[in-house]
């Protein structure tokens, strides 16, 4: 984390950190623009772009048609011609119409042109459940995209990271998918440096050190793991919590050194378990830290259900939470 020592700090939630990053980057570089459904006049459905329309005008804070493939496609084209677009997809659930533009186009442009072209875009989108969003406003999408070489996938869990990683993403010469958990937007506050605060895309961060079991998570699940760790500390189980922050590129070294220390790994995500990104982490551990393992690699994740139901009991059934996490960790600790 690079921060000059003369930076002032401000108490922020993640939503404000996102807004600050966008605003500062648009101030800094007039090639930066933000585009999406209702990002302009309405300031975004979560307020992430509140005030930007008045400040930067309708050409740089662009209300787009309701057409996600078009949003990403226009962003790609604008990037090819010198701009640095931030494309907002209103909800991650609605990113799928743009799948081909993201996977076959944005992520493949540098490679297919053997380095002649690149696509410096950021695709920001609110994701995740536990907010009564129902089947079409709750999903996690990281597994689809972290599988795609050519695309970076970032999932901050804290306001400071959100700001620093988003600024890095905007300055990145390649496409970055930036996932903002809806429930985290207003969950916690922290002191965030004003101005130039960059967090590099890649490195994970150990949020809590521990010796018995390693927990790996991202987004909201980081917070839930911290709560579970707190609870387990009272029971004498020492849990290390690793916030991956970036899924692509993935910080394999931090993952492996944590497991080599604790010998036990629990991976936590909201997305349904089969083929979720947790599988990749489990696979890496079981291939590269096999000798250090003192127990099975365990995943705590959403069940294999097509999407997260709206009604409270079933949403609760779906969502991992601190209790479910603690239970799995406790069991593994005593393996």
């Amino acid at each position: 984390m690079c921060c000059g020592d003369d930076l002032t700090m401000a108490e922020m939630r993640m939503i404000e950190a996102v807004r600050a990053a966008i605003t500062e980057e648009m101030e800094r570089d007039e090639r930066v623009l933000i585009m999406g459904e209702d990002v302009g006049r309405k300031g975004g459905v979560f307020g992430a772009t509140d005030g930007l329309y008045a400040r930067f005008g309708e050409a740089r804070v662009l209300d787009t048609p309701l057409a996600e493939s078009g949003i990403v496609g226009v962003a790609i084209g604008a990037a090819l011609n010198g701009l640095i677009p931030i494309a907002e997809i209103q909800f991650a659930d609605f990113i799928h119409p743009a799948f081909d533009q993201i996977v076959s186009e944005a992520a493949r442009t540098r490679y297919r042109s053997n380095g002649d072209w690149s696509v410096p875009i950021v695709i920001r989108t609110p994701f995740g459940g536990g907010v009564h969003g129902g089947l079409y406003h709750s999903q996690s999408i990281e597994a689809f995209y972290a599988h795609v070489p050519g695309l970076k996938v970032v999932v901050p869990s804290m306001p400071g990271d959100a700001k620093g990683l988003l600024k890095s993403a905007i300055r990145d010469p390649d496409p970055v998918l930036f996932l903002e958990h809806k429930k985290v937007y207003r969950l916690v506050t922290e002191e965030v440096p004003e101005g130039e605060h960059l967090v590099p895309i890649g490195p994970a961060v150990v949020r809590r050190e521990g010796t018995n079991v390693s927990c790996f998570a991202w987004g909201l699940m980081t917070h839930y793991c911290m709560q579970a760790a707190e609870q387990l500390a009272n029971e004498g189980v020492s849990v290390e919590v690793v916030d991956l922050r970036c899924l692509a590129p993935l910080d394999r070294d931090t993952i492996l050194s944590s497991v080599r220390k604790t010998g036990k790994a629990v991976i936590v995500h909201e997305d349904n378990i089969t083929g979720g990104f947790g599988a990749e982490i489990a696979a890496i551990i079981s291939e590269h830290a096999f000798d250090s393992l003192d127990g099975p690699v365990v995943r705590v994740a959403g069940p294999d259900i097509p999407a997260m139901p709206f009604n409270t009991p079933q949403e609760d059934f779906f969502m991992p939470n601190p209790v479910k996490i603690a239970e799995a960790v406790r069991k593994l600790a005593s393996y």
């Binding site: 609605f94 089947l135 259900i305």
Partner: protein, 341 residues
């Protein structure tokens, strides 16, 4: 005579039934506004995020065109593929106020989805109301597929698909219209367009939906979406065209937004509210039926009271009904992963 005076050839009892559906839809929405847009009615959800994704039940203003559409269709054989705006349409097709409330209150008995979908996504195989998703546009091309199946199987069925006006910006609208046109399918696409005060976003669109439709070689007409008679006539023409092999029709139905608040916030002045009432389709239908002698003030009072009562009862029943059980989240998955329960 009476019927003719009402501007259609529908029988008085049919007109009254449609009007009652309009009143019922409005009563449901009004009740929900009172319940603070439904959220406070449910299990302690509070804060800014409680309404995430819940753009539900925004039928107000569209009641006339929706019941007109239902009246032009053959219930039981024709198909409806609604969007999130179509409360009055779904009621007219056979959904009950209790069904609606069970969805709103996310109860186990919600017939549309067992409370899996966010409120407002109605569906019923029995009523041929196709369960919609929230992903705007996808359903348009599905509706073309339904109509293709009707044609291939040689059955006389019309499919009505509804979309809000921004839905036609998505690629799937194009793919659906293109396919429907090429096959001359019995499809009607109703564009429910609620102009909000700030007007449409100019960067989104050039030209009219009618011109778009004509570009596909489709029949198209713009109507006054707040006027039952205008809407019914257009829908009748469209269903007749569909049934006689004339292919799809696009109907653009703009309506005025009914809101008592000013764009920047605060209440509108009385004269604006009065003018707005003149655009209210329920009120326009009421005046029309009064003028035609199909309705009188006291019958209207009764009808209004009856609807309010039905809604009140539905709210009571629904709020007393049990929620789904958590593990029922596994019902209707194709197979269960051993660890999921």
């Amino acid at each position: 005579m009476i019927a003719r005076a009402s501007g259609t050839d529908l029988e008085p009892h049919a007109l009254l039934a449609l009007y009652k559906t309009m009143v019922m839809a409005r009563a449901i929405e009004r009740r929900l506004w009172v319940l603070d847009h439904l959220a406070s009615a449910r299990s302690g959800d509070v804060g800014a995020q409680r309404r995430v994704g819940s753009r539900n039940l925004e039928s107000a203003g569209f009641e006339a065109v929706q019941v007109a559409a239902a009246a032009a269709l053959d219930r039981g054989s024709d198909w409806v593929v609604p969007c999130h705006l179509d409360l009055a349409l779904c009621l007219a097709m056979g959904l009950s106020p209790l069904d609606v409330m069970l969805s709103i209150f996310a109860r186990a008995a919600d017939p549309s989805s067992g409370a899996r979908q966010a409120p407002g996504a109605f569906g019923s195989r029995a009523a041929r109301i196709v369960m919609t998703s929230a992903s705007a546009g996808r359903h348009v091309v599905q509706a073309a597929g339904i109509a293709y199946a009707s044609k291939l199987q040689g059955v006389d069925q019309v499919t009505l698909v509804c979309t809000d006006e921004r839905g036609i910006q998505s690629g799937d609208w194009h793919e659906g219209m293109n396919f429907a046109g090429a096959h001359a399918l019995p499809l009607i696409c109703l564009i429910e367009d609620r102009a909000d005060d700030e007007g449409p976003i100019p960067q989104n669109w050039l030209g009219s939906p009618i011109a778009r439709a004509e570009g596909y070689g489709l029949a198209a007409e713009a109507i006054d979406g707040g006027d039952f008679v205008d809407a019914f006539a257009a829908l009748r023409r469209a269903t007749a065209r569909a049934r006689t092999g004339g292919g799809p029709t696009v109907i653009h139905a703009p309506v005025v937004e009914l809101t008592s608040t000013k764009p920047g916030g605060g209440l509108r002045p009385p004269e604006e509210l009065e003018a707005l009432a003149g655009h209210d389709p329920v009120e326009r239908m009421r005046r029309r039926l009064l003028a035609a002698g199909v309705l009188d003030e006291s019958a209207d009072d009764n009808l209004q009271r009856e609807c309010a009562g039905v809604v009140r009862t539905a709210v009571e029943e629904a709020s007393a009904a049990p929620s789904p059980k958590g593990p029922q989240a596994l019902d209707n998955v194709l197979w269960r992963r051993p660890d999921d329960g």
